[in-house]
Amino acid sequence: MKEISRDLSIKNLIASPVRSIGLILLSALLSFAITAGSIVTGSLERGIDSLNARLGADIIIVDEESAAAEDNGDIILGGTDDNHYMDRSVADSLLTYEGIELVSGQLFLTSLSSGCCSFPVKIVGYDPETDFTISPWIKESHSSIPGDMEVLAGSNLGVSVGESISFYDTKVRVVAKLDKTGTDLDSSVYANINTLGALHRAAATKGLDYLDGAEPQSRLSSILIKVSEGSDISELVKRINMDLDGVKAIRTKAMISGISAGLSGISSVIAALVGVVWLLTIAVMMTVFVITGSLRKREFASLRIIGVSAKALAGIVIREGLLLCAAGSILGTVISLIVFILFGQAFAGLIGLPYLLPDLGTLLVTAVLSAAAASASGIVSSLIPAFAISRIDTALILREGY
């Protein structure tokens, strides 16, 4: 009798292809929503964690015009895109402030089409002797410190280690590729100040004098500050903004908290949408099972007569629900994985926020859990109809011609 009831579930589903396909697609939609929501939320969280880990600085100082032109959050996420510069003496003057532990400057150049790309690549010049943000990142990924005419490439650049890349018709060698961070840092190259100076001179020969005749060693795009333990960061920011003209100090953690708050808002909306889809799916499936159960009363009554127990009858209905949801869950999860793995980069570009896709193992675990959760909805939605069917009065149904 067990074999009969097991086979019956599958045969019942095959006998009603339209209903079965409809419910499978509904379940696929649910599992797609759960998987996609989990992946997006997880990737956003990883992105912000990555940015937090990479930044390292407590305060960032930029030119006042840059700060006015761009949102503080954008500056934190990718630095300044325009070509406003500060005098290096600003960094020197900061060393006199009490409470400041480390000061390091960065100089940005924006390349033209470098023979690789139709949009500019940001070249970040840093001083390895004072730097405390990029060097730990380099060490973490076991990469080399770039020498003169050598660069570190962000993960988005399609170049290999040892390959040469041209900026302003000047070749530099890629000595390492950095790990993915999920931020604009991935689309930049990093070089020491000497290399940047050479590239700036090359740019100048093409009529692009970004520094208005000044030497690269005398200019900075941003200054990163690490504050001593126990010092009041907000107070320092206020003092710097009051004392120094033409620059703006921004507290990085406050900005990241702002971005994090925005991301948690997005995560809440995603969770709410997934919840609504889940409830709707269960409601629709339950309605379909109740209606079809009602239409199949004579069938179930006949099964009772030939000896199928009430429990087995309920099992048939629950098994049908589980099979439909399991099939739909697998379909929806696979589609979701394919979409996010193949189109992940495009999606990250659309969002415009730190977005770091989890590794394959984590993605698979997420997919399995999402499929399981969606499959469980099949059991939930078939419980009430299964209970009702197990309580049918066989004699009444067959006598009165239901």
Binding site: C116, C117, S118, N156, G158, V159, L342, F343
Partner: protein, 146 residues
Amino acid sequence: MKNKTKIYNLLPVILPLILSLGTATVFKACGPMDNGMWMHCHGAQNAVVVVGIITAAIIALSAVVKDLRLIVSLKLSAIALSLAVTLVPGVIISLCKMNTMRCHAVMRPFVILFAVLTAVEELASIVVLFRKGKVSDERNLQRSFD
């Protein structure tokens, strides 16, 4: 019924046509540079469009011929072409050097997805073809291969 069967057999043509049409329109490669010149990825896009159309034509032909051997040969050709087209963007024809650009982020994943779907669909249809042949008349199947 015969016409209905023929139309049904022509449905697989949709996948390679979506591949060609999609690559030429919504999922196209990067636009021209400021100086008006096209980059390598544009060539990859055009190659995919052409191969997709050829694949669609081969699948359409396999739907109208009667000889089983020829049908299977055409379907195998379609599979080979579909798998080959996945190598066009990025392997056979290089793309832009920045992974965030359209050719990498949009065109290449789309080409891989629909090319693999086409190959899988044609492989499944070959399996179904042989299974139908086994169930109906094994002698006829043997005769058509002699």
